[in-house]
């Protein structure tokens, strides 16, 4: 039984990393109707910025963390206003291609600036291990769980209880009406992209100590985040977070008990489960079906 709880803790930790990125994907999808393929790479780029702040500029971890979040916010706004918005009246296919182009650019730029070699990225949490009734938990896993849960909570509070959150929701739901009511929709969508970039940065900085920092380290996290978002319903922030935790814990348990599933097979198995879920519930577990009338 102890090992069961250990697998659950590891799963929740991984799930938290996916959840933060999945939340970013859902925010963007709700606000602009786009699935942003560059979301993971935005987090990757921010993590490299944090790396530079910590190891080149010599700034302490948490100060670098906060500075990176601020830079990510500005970067996300810039990406929306300078690159995505000029394509906003184009077809879905074009906009998806634009985000793929962005993925390629950020990936290449990171390799160019910081070299494609692996880099060590420190964890802010101690290496110690906690033991509660025989269940061994690493401080690293608990820290990641706390940070990702805090992110989800802050996003919920922001959208639910603040004036700017209301304006953000209004801009996503009815841009034309919102504009007539005096909301600066373009600015709001920019802020939405900025917030999503911050979330991706958190996801990247939490994932980097577990994986190693390379220009492509977020691609697999992105795939899991996509799977989580689709599993939960891509229009439901709650669903995306829940989907991410289900996915994280499910994979951790599965690879813990079924020894044939090594680290390489985890993602293909997750993909298979995802396809099955979609055949039964195409809108995800917590999504709402779209009704179309002719």
């Amino acid at each position: 039984m102890a090992s069961f709880f250990q697998y659950v803790v590891v799963g929740l930790s991984n799930g938290g990393i996916y959840a933060t990125l999945a939340l970013a994907l859902v925010l963007i999808h709700r606000a602009t109707g786009i699935v942003n393929f560059a979301q993971g790479e935005m987090g990757m780029f921010a993590t490299y910025l944090a790396w530079s702040l910590i190891y080149t500029a010599g700034i302490t971890y948490w100060l670098s963390f906060s500075l990176t979040l601020a830079l990510a916010f500005l970067g996300g706004m810039f990406v929306y206003l300078a690159i995505i918005r000029p394509f906003s009246h184009r077809s879905e296919l074009t906009v998806v291609m634009v985000t793929i182009a962005l993925l390629v650019i950020l990936n290449g730029a990171a390799g160019w600036i910081w070299s494609p070699q692996q880099k060590f990225f420190e964890s802010p949490f101690p290496l110690s291990v906690l033991s509660v009734r025989g269940v061994v938990m690493s401080a690293q896993d608990l820290g990641v769980i706390a940070v990702s849960a805090a992110c989800a909570l802050i996003v919920w509070l922001l959208f639910r209880f603040t004036r700017i959150g209301l304006q953000l929701r209004a801009s996503a739901l009815g841009p034309a009406t919102s504009r007539l009511l005096g909301i600066r929709v373009t600015l709001m969508l920019g802020i939405g992209w900025g917030l999503a970039a911050m979330l991706s940065a958190v996801s990247g900085m939490m994932a980097a100590p577990v994986v190693v920092l390379t220009p492509s380290f977020m691609l697999i996290v992105l795939t899991y985040a996509f799977a989580a978002a689709v599993l939960g319903g891509i229009d439901s922030p709650f669903g995306a977070v829940a989907g991410a935790y289900i996915l994280g814990v499910g994979i951790s348990l599965l690879s813990g008990y079924v020894h044939q599933i090594g680290p390489e097979l985890q993602l293909p198995v997750a993909l298979g489960v995802l396809l099955l879920v979609l055949m039964v519930r195409p809108n995800g577990l917590f999504g709402h079906p779209i009704v179309r009338r002719v």
């Binding site: 182009a101 390629v104 993909l271």
Partner: protein, 321 residues
């Protein structure tokens, strides 16, 4: 009258292209001929991708993954089971097509962006799967094939592979053209542009979209098989996600919805990385990304669209005279 003029123009372009393809090896060294064999392989892959993305409007980031399946089919059949390497080409195409068909079923639930997500996951998963089923695929170390020698005396193997690839490419181009000009192509375009209206007319969305998916996978399977034969070596990193992205980039650059435009796309896929690498090791990816962005912004119909525009401008100019 206008239609036939367009057709004559296109046939002329096709004849010119065919002549260039046939005569090219005479003008090039064996090494460069070998590079153009890869152009033929990418051409096959993106003609298939174009059926799916250009004509049926579904975004796929999994074309490289399907190439991997074709390549492994050829490798496993010829190395482990002693099947003649050329016989494995159609087998690879059909098997990959069937897998594409099977993948197309759940993918049908996924319109537009969701399909892009699923195929993206497939592109990432396929390399990992090749690594973990090492009994079949040779794992991370990969598998080597015998480089085929030319059956015709006095012809270098590079030249032989070049003609083999382009002969198959020509046949598959003709097949795609025939498929798309008839009822099938019309139905696909109708489903792309007005799904609800098309379904009301009795066109089965499920059937046509799954078939388009299977066709794209079939083309990728053939391309992957030829890739394995031409390189004579396959490992899980031969077909990275970057290849799938590059194939989609090539198709957009060549012009979605134009089959002949894919020649430009294939040339870009083969040569852009080589030239960009001379600048800087990591720069190529940045440069493709920027080119892709510029193409999307400035010429959304790709190279083919640009030629069409130039043609129209020429006609207008000649009419004025």
């Amino acid at each position: 009258m206008n239609v036939s003029v367009g057709l004559v123009g296109r046939l002329g372009a096709l004849a010119a292209l065919a002549a260039v393809v046939v005569l090219l090896p005479a003008a090039l060294s064996n090494f460069h001929t070998y590079q153009f064999a890869f152009v033929g392989i990418y051409f096959i892959a993106i003609v298939g991708l174009n059926v799916l993305t250009g004509y049926s409007g579904q975004i796929s980031l999994g074309q490289g993954a399907f190439m991997a399946i074709g390549a492994y089919t050829t490798t496993i059949l010829s190395v482990d089971h002693g099947v003649g390497v050329y016989w494995t080409i159609p087998v690879a195409g059909i098997l990959t097509g069937l897998i594409g068909f099977a993948f197309g079923f759940p993918a049908l639930r996924l319109t537009g962006v969701y399909l892009a997500l699923a195929t993206f996951a497939l592109a990432i998963a396929v390399g990992l799967m090749a690594k973990s089923f090492d009994g079949l695929t040779g794992g991370g170390g990969g598998k080597s094939l015998h480089l085929p020698s030319s059956p015709i005396g006095g012809v270098a193997w590079q030249v032989w592979l070049y003609y083999l690839t382009w002969a198959i490419a020509a046949a598959l181009l003709a097949a795609a053209w025939l498929i798309l000009r008839g009822e099938f192509g019309r139905s696909l375009r109708a489903l792309r542009d007005a799904p609800i209206a098309a379904t009301s007319f009795g066109i089965s969305l499920a059937r046509f979209k799954t078939l388009a998916f299977a066709i794209a996978a079939f083309y990728a399977g053939i391309a992957g098989s030829l890739f394995a034969i031409t390189v004579a070596y396959v490992n899980p990193d031969t077909f990275p996600v970057a290849l799938s992205i590059l194939l989609l980039t090539g198709a957009v650059l060549g012009g979605l919805g134009s089959l002949l435009g894919m020649v430009f796309g294939a040339l870009f896929i083969e040569f852009a990385p080589l030239y960009a690498e001379k600048l800087n090791n990591s720069a190529p990816t940045v440069i493709y990304g920027l080119i892709l962005l510029a193409v999307l912004f400035l010429m959304p119909e790709g190279a083919a669209g640009l030629i069409k525009k130039a043609n129209r401008a020429l006609k207008r100019a000649s009419r004025r005279e």
